[in-house]
């Protein structure tokens, strides 16, 4: 009934001494939505690169509709019927939408229709791509690929940047495509979506496929266990945690009637030992809030007070000096990819002019070893750019451990991170708070906020509209994010 449209056998790939894929088998049937799951470093991104034509395998075979194929570049993959929507939109910022479509010979009318089915109907194609928000770019990219009517559509973390209501519409479009005979390979960290959308899932671990099953046959617990290699029981034990609520007299961070950009009269505070969670839908002003706290913007009105002293910052350097440090969501903006772990971790120590002199070698070494041990950073790879996403995120947080801070600002720290590392990060965050720091964390993972926050603030349309206890259920949290009245 359902023949196999994509068959991968014994696929292997190494990058120098690092084995990315050991031996992977994958079968995708016609008309199914197949999820690809795995922790960071399990080989998902390498597999995607090979299937999409960006990289070539060292060994193994790929059969698409019965024909053996080998893609040397993304055009070949697309021409053979395997279209990919990459995590980074394949669009040129300096060109208009129309010009971008002409690059790939995409029919503008068909793309407009596809966009309409997602709920986007008034996009001017003469706009520069650079002026459009990220989620719109992903949708345009998706529309471009759908228009090709590929046999297999590969979606790499598609929903990461999409607002939840758009995601629903996209899902219904995908289901229709699949009914028409197309197949989808869906890569995501969001297990709930996998449960909702996918017919089967394959789990990768350490470069091999370890299990293939139907999501309803074991649920998220089985997925997580397969990704981590541990039985589900151990995980639930880690989840339950007693959350203390400590209050000190002077808050570490006190935001008073802050107005800047889309933010209006925002007030909240973070006390010593507290983890304050912030949740919001796309584009409600959270990035501006964090940027303002990090010293990038001067508020039009209102004040930011750190440890009793008002913040007067003309850039991150000043904010850091007052004890406010920011860990951005995008690791590419926080890491030094060519430099070793040691230099990444100690960067803030030498930022100030008076530290330009000789380095105290042994003291530095001790500090690094301390941090590496505490965060369990895998220090084998030389340059930071070679580390897995999870380890890189540990580096970006670890550098502040090495140089100290009062208030830690975390912007979506677990985006695109595997379950195992996520848990480690949450434990770390709670430990930091217990040691006396104040932490403000914005996250898009609503279900996990209970693991780490003491209270949850909801940001909507530039204002804090709600404060909820951390054990609030996900539905209520989501409703609050949409600006709806919720029962406390």
């Amino acid at each position: 009934m359902s023949e196999t449209v994509l068959q991968v056998r014994n696929l292997a790939k190494r990058y120098g001494p690092v084995v990315a894929l050991r031996s992977v088998d994958l079968d995708i049937k016609r008309g199914e939505i197949h999820a690809l799951l795995g922790a960071n470093g399990a080989g998902k991104s390498t597999l995607v690169k090979i299937l999409s034509g960006v990289a070539q395998a060292d060994a193994g075979s790929i059969m698409l509709t019965g024909r053996s194929v080998r893609f040397r570049n993304p055009s070949q993959a697309r021409a053979a019927g395997l279209a990919t929507v990459f995590q980074e939109p394949a669009l040129i910022g300096e060109l208009t939408v129309r010009e971008n479509l002409s690059l790939t010979h995409s029919d503008p009318y068909q793309v407009r229709e596809a966009l309409a089915s997602f709920g986007v109907s008034d996009l001017q194609f003469d706009e520069l791509v650079r002026d459009l928000p990220l989620f719109l770019l992903r949708l345009i990219d998706l529309a471009k690929q759908l228009v090709l009517s590929p046999r297999v559509l590969l979606l790499d973390e598609l929903t990461a940047a999409l607002p939840s209501d758009i995601t629903e519409r996209v899902f219904s479009v995908l289901r229709e495509a699949v009914r028409a005979g197309q197949s989808i390979l869906f890569i995501s960290h969001r297990l709930a979506e996998v449960m909702e959308l996918c017919d089967r899932c394959t789990v990768l671990r350490d470069g091999c496929n370890v299990e293939t099953f139907e999501p309803r046959d074991g649920g998220e617990g089985r997925m997580v266990a397969a990704m981590l290699g541990t039985p589900p029981e151990q995980l639930t034990a880690r989840e339950s945690r007693v959350i203390h609520h400590t209050q000190e007299q002077v808050p570490l961070l006190d935001v008073k009637h802050l107005t800047v950009g889309p933010l209006r009269d925002v007030s909240f505070s973070v006390h010593k030992g507290e983890v304050v969670g912030l949740i919001a839908l796309e584009g409600q002003g959270q990035d501006v809030l964090f940027a303002a706290l990090a010293g990038e913007y001067r508020p039009s009105s209102g004040q930011i007070v750190v440890c009793g002293k008002p913040l007067s910052a003309r850039g991150p350097a000043d904010a850091i000096r007052q004890g406010l440090v920011l860990v951005p969501a995008d690791r590419a903006t926080a890491l030094l990819p060519k430099r070793p772990i040691r230099e990444n971790l100690t960067l803030p120590l030498y930022a100030r002019f008076r530290s330009w002199g000789a380095i105290r070698w042994k003291a530095e070494k001790r500090r690094i070893e301390d941090v590496v041990r505490r965060l369990a950073i895998d220090a084998r790879a030389g340059a930071a750019g070679r580390l897995s996403g999870g380890n890189q995120q540990k580096l970006t947080i670890g550098r502040w451990l090495a140089s100290g801070f009062q208030v830690l600002l975390l912007f979506d720290p677990t985006r695109g991170i595997d379950i195992g590392t996520k848990r480690q990060l949450y434990v770390l965050i709670r430990d930091l708070a217990a040691a006396g720091a104040g932490i403000l964390m914005f996250t898009s993972e609503l279900r996990e906020i209970s693991l780490v926050a003491d209270r949850v603030l909801v940001l909507y349309n530039g204002q804090i509209i709600e404060e909820l206890p951390p054990d609030t259920d996900e539905e209520t949290l989501l409703s609050a994010c949409h600006g709806l009245e919720v029962a406390r």
């Binding site: 697309r78 394949a90 040129i92 001017q124």
Partner: protein, 334 residues
């Protein structure tokens, strides 16, 4: 799951036509304005302003204008060619050697041959860059040595010649500004305008704007890069032939090559081509080349020490780029 209430508009407000026009052609308009101001300044300096004076301006700027156009194409595609000036010197010497003693018709045929050779050199440079994966600055630097030496091999001292008819037809007689203007406008309209609108043109801008995204979108990045360098080489060939027509001889000194390259980069950047790639056009560099040529002439007319012209030129380049960068940063912040 609760249904979502209508959200604030998903699609950002579209930019007005005026804003879009200003963004796309703003730099060009300012450059043209600047050129007009300088032009009238020069006009006011001279007792009489006829064909001779105009021809001095236009024909004098032609070599830098064509080199600037070639460099602009390479920079738009995300690269740079430090050997372009040396390629021009090579073409100049080769054409001067071959054209010596020939009649006009033959000179034109030889010119086409030399331009084709220039394009071939560009192809070799581009292919080297793509195959070796060595950064373009390093590769073109090496070719700068090679081409300078090759020019010396052709003519070990200034010499060679060309037909008088050829000189008049390309650079115009001493009082004829028209040929130089026509050739420049002609090349722009016949070569650049169609290219800019074609798929190849969009691809040139694409690989300069975001090479990785272009690759993912399916553009054959390597091939387009080679095409960009080939076009650059073609323009360098044209510039060399024009130089032969203008000076009537070939000059193999390597200092000319380096200075010419630097002028081509200056013309391109002053003409609105961003060094980061993906932005700009070819009309700007042509106007900028004339601006660069007018500055020393104006200074001479004002009785200022012409050596200071170097200083002024350098400062103009720096200040203009400073303003341009500040504007770009301001645009990004809004």
């Amino acid at each position: 799951m609760t249904t979502a209430p209508p959200r604030p508009a998903l699609v950002p407000k579209p930019t007005s036509r005026w804003a879009r026009l200003r963004r796309r052609h703003g730099w060009l308009i300012v450059t043209a304005g600047f050129l007009l101001v300088l032009f009238f300044w020069r006009f006011s300096q001279l007792p009489k302003f006829g064909g001779f004076e105009l021809r001095t301006i236009t024909a004098g700027a032609m070599v830098v204008a064509f080199l600037g156009m070639g460099q602009a194409i390479v920079i738009i595609s995300g690269g740079i060619d430090l050997a372009l000036g040396a390629a021009m010197v090579f073409a100049n010497c080769l054409s001067a050697l071959w054209m010596k003693g020939q009649h006009t018709g033959m000179c034109f045929l030889l010119a086409i041959a030399v331009i084709a050779i220039g394009a071939a050199i560009g192809t070799i440079v581009g292919t080297t860059i793509v195959l070796s994966r060595v950064p373009d600055i390093v590769v073109t630097l090496a070719y700068l040595f090679v081409l300078s030496g090759a020019a010396l091999l052709i003519l070990n001292q200034p010499g060679g010649g060309t037909a008088q008819g050829f000189r008049s037809a390309v650079a115009g007689g001493l009082s004829q500004p028209l040929p130089s203007i026509l050739w420049t406008v002609g090349v722009l309209s016949v070569l650049w305008m169609p290219l800019k609108r074609s798929t190849l043109g969009v691809k040139l801008y694409a690989i300069g704007g975001n090479r990785a995204a272009a690759y993912l979108a399916g553009v054959d990045v390597s091939r387009v890069r080679v095409v960009a360098y080939t076009l650059g080489g073609m323009f360098a060939g044209m510039a060399g032939v024009i130089n032969t027509a203008y000076t009537g001889s070939g000059d193999p000194r390597s200092s000319i090559g380096l200075a010419a390259t630097l002028s081509s980069i200056a013309a391109a950047v002053l003409g609105g081509v961003a060094l980061t790639g993906g932005v700009g056009g070819l009309v700007g560099p042509v106007l900028a080349a004339v601006v660069l040529g007018l500055i020393p002439a104006i200074m001479l007319g004002e009785g200022v020490d012409p050596n200071l012209a170097q200083v002024v030129q350098g400062c103009v380049i720096i200040v203009v780029v400073m303003i341009g960068t500040w504007l770009a940063v301001k645009r990004r912040a809004t």
